[in-house]
């Protein structure tokens, strides 16, 4: 019951590359459990101890009538609450629940050596440009590796330790920010990334 944002960009819509369509049968099943009333009482904001997820109680399930909405809720009971301490607790619980998603995130894979001079870190549609650049640089003997993120919030729990194994980290992004950035509205070219890496090394 956590809202999930899947970010994408125009390159994905306009670009093309071979992509293996996964077999749906191989995808892990999505497991969830329905709530139950206890002694005629249903507590809509009770949470799973490990994941902090609330259980499902959908319209039509007798005895589980409850209200959800934008106002702050009391922990456990789900009643509208204006209590400051409860708000503090709920803000922390929600943050903890999101942070807990790292349990589901597989370890970060580093292409190339696990340590070195430079790690090129990317996310999303820069994958192709970064990977081919790193391949080319490595064939020239450069100490460059590549890691590509699929999750931005929370970040993978092991990301920090990977970053520390490199002297420098380069993040190419089509935005106005630190790193390699161009705001031309066009995807990076391999040559642009290679040039930047050579400038840094």
């Amino acid at each position: 019951m956590t809202p999930v944002f899947i970010l994408t960009d125009a390159f994905l819509a306009n670009g093309s590359e071979p992509w293996m369509i996964p077999s749906l049968d191989d995808l892990p099943p999505i497991k969830f459990s329905y709530a139950e009333a206890r002694d005629g009482q249903y507590m809509p904001y009770e949470r799973d101890e490990e994941t902090l997820a609330r259980r499902w109680a959908i319209p039509g399930m007798s005895g589980l009538e409850h209200r959800i909405g934008g106002l702050e809720r009391e922990h456990i009971s789900g009643n509208v609450s204006y209590d400051p301490d409860n708000h503090d607790l709920m803000v922390r619980l929600r943050a903890e629940k999101v942070a807990g998603m790292t349990r589901e995130i597989p370890p970060t894979e580093v292409y190339g050596d696990a340590t070195g001079d430079l790690l090129v870190l990317g996310w999303g549609s820069t994958y192709g440009a970064i990977r081919t650049s790193v391949e080319a640089l490595r064939s020239e003997g450069k100490s460059v590796s590549h890691a590509h993120l699929k999750w931005l919030n929370p970040l993978p729990a092991d990301l920090g330790e990977h970053l520390l194994k490199f002297q420098k980290v380069l993040i190419p992004e089509v935005i106005d920010a630190e790193g390699l950035n161009l705001v031309r509205g066009k995807p990076f070219r391999k040559s642009q990334i290679i040039a930047k890496v050579k400038e840094i090394l």
Binding site: P18, M20, I21, S23, L24, D25, I58, P59, G60, M61, S62, G63, L64, E65, H66, R67, I68, G69, G70, L71, N79, V80
Partner: protein, 338 residues
């Protein structure tokens, strides 16, 4: 065969344990009370009710009903209610909204729900003001209205909610008043009975920021001369003494005194299935010489969206077999690279 006992529901079953936070004297209290009184009588099990609201004073409503409830996004209750209904057409879905939520922020969502005709009941609390944000003019505030956000008078011409609904191809348009409890209860029942999207405008007094906006139809001394109580198939007679009627001159409605110049036979007879008449009646709102129509302005039977959707899916399945998600994703133009 054993009979399943259907538990008898009462008003209490619909009262949640939450403190109601509207201002003392708000018209919302009456709408809440009449809803809680009416819901037990419409033959729907309690767990099948869903109240969906946007944002605003009126939109706190779901918290006070002991049913499934969603206090959702400003103006977006119709979209969320549509999803709830399509996922489970068996539910009795109610959209609770206000003049700002429905007609300003959510104007687009509202009109598309109306034309789609899902079996959802929309109850629009119209107080002609923004109450929760403390008294700015709303899309139903009258032209020239002086408020905190229009100190020299509003330059916006207001929406007339029934006209908006009719323009959006609504299949059911009605109006009632918060303080007329019997009429309000009957209006809620009738709205529920309509098969399709029902649009019920409730004139609702905001005691703090727009008190008396509807006194012409609530003040005992004058209301009978200002209300046209619509009854299907009946001539349009009104007035304290029942001494006035509505006559049509071309497309223009006019008030005539009953007596030597006009009898009940000369009067307009209400036909709630006549869309043209409904448009004329809706326009009464903008004409101070005419009474305010209350009751069912328009109703027609049209297929419900969810029924059409189910039919379409069933027909497609019959023709093409059950869907295959894997095949759908793969499409016809994919191949495996060796």
């Amino acid at each position: 065969m054993t009979e399943t006992a259907v538990p008898t529901l009462t008003r209490k079953d619909f009262v949640s344990d939450q403190d109601v936070r509207w201002c003392p004297g708000c018209g919302d209290y009456s709408i809440l009370a009449q809803t809680q009184k009416t819901m037990p009588d419409i033959g729907v099990p309690k767990e099948k009710f869903v109240f969906v609201a946007g944002i605003g004073c009126s939109s706190r409503f779901p918290y006070y009903m002991d049913t499934f409830g969603f206090h959702t996004i400003h103006g977006r209750a119709p979209a969320i209610a549509s999803g709830v209904k399509l996922a489970n057409p068996d539910l009795s879905v109610w959209v609770i909204t206000g003049d700002g939520d429905a007609l300003s922020i959510g104007g687009n969502h509202l009109i598309h729900l109306l034309r789609r005709n899902l079996d959802i009941n929309i109850v629009l609390f119209n107080n002609e003001i923004y109450g929760l944000t403390k008294g700015q003019y709303s899309p139903t505030s009258e032209f020239g209205k002086k408020t905190k956000s229009s100190p020299f008078g509003s330059l916006d011409r207001p929406f007339n909610p029934p006209s908006v609904a009719l323009g959006a191809q609504s299949t059911y348009v009605a109006r009632t008043v918060d303080s007329n409890t019997a009429h309000l209860q009957a209006s809620l029942k009738r709205a529920h009975a309509h098969q399709g999207t029902s649009f019920l405008e409730v004139y609702q007094n905001c005691l703090i920021y727009n008190d008396g906006a509807f006194s012409h139809v609530t003040d005992k001394a004058v209301k009978d001369d200002n209300i046209l109580d619509l009854q299907h198939g009946e001539p349009m007679v009104f007035g304290k003494e029942g001494d006035k009627g509505i006559r049509l001159d071309g497309f223009t409605a006019e008030v005539v005194p009953l007596g030597k110049d006009a009898s009940a036979d000369d009067l307009l007879v209400h036909d709630e299935h006549d869309r043209n008449l409904a448009a004329i009646l809706a326009n009464f709102t903008e004409d101070d010489s005419l009474p305010t129509p209350l009751g069912v302005i328009y109703s027609e039977e049209q297929p419900k969206y969810e029924a059409l959707m189910t039919e379409q899916i069933d027909a497609a399945k019959e023709k093409l077999g059950d869907g295959d998600l894997q095949q759908l994703i793969a499409g016809t133009d994919t191949w495996e690279v060796a």
